[in-house]
């Protein structure tokens, strides 16, 4: 990107969750469900003296994408690290369930998920985990009818049970500022020690879980600039492409064949991972 392009682009990362959802929907089609004025907040954070937020950090936006009915589910990374509790989790699961139901009734509602999340909100631990299991179920249901597109723009990234949700999407889009991994760096360090994973070594962490590495390891489908128009274009292209032949989460023969080639006695490096995964998993 040259300076002129940089000045003319519209950053997607700098947008909050609501503006991101708006940027993906056709002009003036944005309609928020359970908006902040309804004040459906977390009943559990208040009990623990933690400040709540009027939308519990999740925006459910109905609207139109390329003339087709759509729902965009955007997680606000600025509230509690984008963590999912009971309310935010139910918003995402419930909306995806209704989208699948629409398809069974002949309404081709499609979904885009904007992941900006550390996973389960630990103050609501088991209710977050339960909601995430329901999100997994609803993605698998909906992706039988319409592509479910996940976007990880950054800068929070996508971790915990929601990284599994990302792995269930039909298509996954990342920027250079995205990170995608199951376990947050601090947790791996806590559980396995700094020799295994040094949470303060940012370049090390990005070299394993950053968007560019994930793209070159075939763990995501598109690697884009931080540009709202470009991201919208990619979403549009994936919807036009339709359902993939196989979802990435169904490619167990390919992944098992690759993992059989891994020398597990040696510590992994970004280069060995790219080399092992370079052929992809479809064959």
């Amino acid at each position: 990107m040259n300076i002129e392009e940089m000045l003319s682009r519209n950053s997607f990362i700098e947008l909050d969750a609501r503006k991101r959802a708006r940027a993906l929907l056709d002009a003036d089609s944005f309609r928020e469900l359970i908006d902040p004025f309804e004040r459906v907040t977390s009943p559990w954070l208040a009990q623990q003296g933690v400040v709540t937020q009027a939308d519990d950090g999740v925006v459910v936006a109905k609207g139109i994408i390329d003339g087709q009915p759509a729902v965009v589910l955007a997680i606000e990374g600025a509230f509690q690290g984008g963590s999912l509790g009971e309310v935010g989790g139910a918003k995402i699961a419930g909306a995806l369930e209704l989208a699948a139901e629409d398809n069974r009734k002949g309404i081709p509602t499609r979904a885009v998920l904007l992941f900006e999340t550390g996973g389960v909100r630990l103050q609501e631990a088991n209710l977050g985990l339960a909601a995430i299991a329901e999100i997994h179920s609803a993605i698998v249901d909906l992706r039988r009818y319409q592509p479910v597109i996940g976007i990880i723009a950054g800068t929070v990234g996508c971790f915990g049970g929601m990284s599994i949700a990302a792995g269930l999407c039909s298509y996954l889009v990342v920027t250079r500022d995205a990170r995608l991994g199951l376990n947050g760096p601090v947790v791996i360090e806590q559980e396995a020690g700094t020799a295994e994973y040094d949470s303060r070594d940012k370049p090390f962490i990005w070299s394993f879980t950053g968007g560019e590495q994930r793209y070159h390891s075939h763990l995501v489908d598109a690697y884009v600039e931080d540009d709202a128009q470009q991201i919208r274009g990619v979403v549009s292209a994936f919807f036009q492409k339709g359902l993939p032949n196989k979802n990435r989460s169904e490619l167990y023969p390919g992944f098992l064949a690759c993992l059989a080639e891994v020398d597990a006695s040696a510590q992994a490096t970004p280069e060995t991972i790219r080399a092992i995964y370079k052929k992809g998993f479809s064959s």
């Binding site: 139910a90 209704l98 985990l129 909601a131 698998v140 947050g184 490619l251 992944f255 993992l259």
Partner: protein, 275 residues
């Protein structure tokens, strides 16, 4: 193999419920798959067990690692494919005793999130196409390990026992991430049911279909085994009688009212109001 490993609850209950059926060949030591009867019909039973010789060093204590995630996916997809053209979809029983997902550099690097998506997606697909899926929690059911192995079940059954635990993260890590001391975390866990680590608090969230008190879950008596077998059989009957293939049976508990309220509001607002 050490006696302690032999006694992993997952391994014990997989053998008991399958009448020591031979394990399906071709799976790693950490993923046990056995085909046996359930209420007189063919069923597949699956457990993740500790493998002290696992070639991935962070996966030696019963965690779900990269290979385990994808092998669970394979074990379930095999059944979906086998019954693809059949009216009868054979049941799948996940015997759950998973310490957690694996925490390690290799795991993150090779995409353990994707491996667990493979497993969760397989179980979920099986349920959605009509395979009755039953999750039997005999020990730990922690975080990503549980999401990959069992949490997609139509019905969840747990033993009411101190060694049975369902949770999102270990206490030490949860304290660190939430910037609380361990004693503060434990104080909150004692009065906030979703944060608690015990099975009674978990049961209060409405996610379990049944919670069973056994005389001895580690060395079960004949009546313990009979109770578990009849409960799994009853779960199967309940699933077959239920037209729903989703997870709505988990909603409705007092401690989970917001989950229902949010869904009701979404449904009411889903379609634009006519002017």
């Amino acid at each position: 193999m050490s006696p302690a490993i032999e006694q992993s609850r997952g391994a014990t209950w997989l053998s008991l419920l399958t009448g020591n059926a031979p394990l399906v060949a071709g799976y790693p030591a950490s993923v046990r798959v056995a085909d046996a009867k359930l209420s007189g019909q063919d069923a597949r039973y699956i457990a993740v067990v500790p493998d002290p010789d696992n070639r991935f060093p962070r996966v030696r204590n019963g965690e779900v690692g990269l290979v385990e995630g994808w092998e669970l996916a394979r074990a379930v997809h095999e059944i979906i494919a086998a019954d693809q053209n059949s009216e009868t979809k054979r049941p799948v029983v996940a015997v759950i005793d998973v310490t957690s997902q694996a925490y390690g550099r290799r795991e993150e690097g090779y995409g353990i999130h994707q491996a667990l998506a493979g497993a969760a997606g397989a179980y979920s697909s099986a349920r959605l196409v009509g395979h009755p899926v039953i999750g039997l929690i005999v020990g730990k059911a922690i975080s990503g390990g549980f999401l990959a192995h069992g949490y997609q079940a139509n019905r969840l059954i747990a033993f009411n026992d101190p060694k049975v635990m369902v949770h999102a993260m270990s206490k030490a890590s949860a304290a660190r991430v939430t910037l609380r001391s361990l004693s503060d975390l434990e104080a909150f866990a004692a009065r906030v049911p979703p944060m608690a680590y015990d099975i009674d608090s978990y049961a209060s969230l409405g996610l379990l279909w049944r919670c069973l008190k056994l005389a001895n879950p580690d060395v079960p008596t004949a009546s313990d085994i009979a109770v578990v077998e009849s409960t799994v059989a009853a779960a199967l009957e309940d699933i077959v009688a239920d037209p729903r293939r989703d997870l709505t049976g988990r909603l409705g508990a007092q401690n989970r009212q917001a989950s229902t309220k949010v869904r009701e509001m979404l449904r009411a607002q889903w379609s634009p109001r006519q002017p």
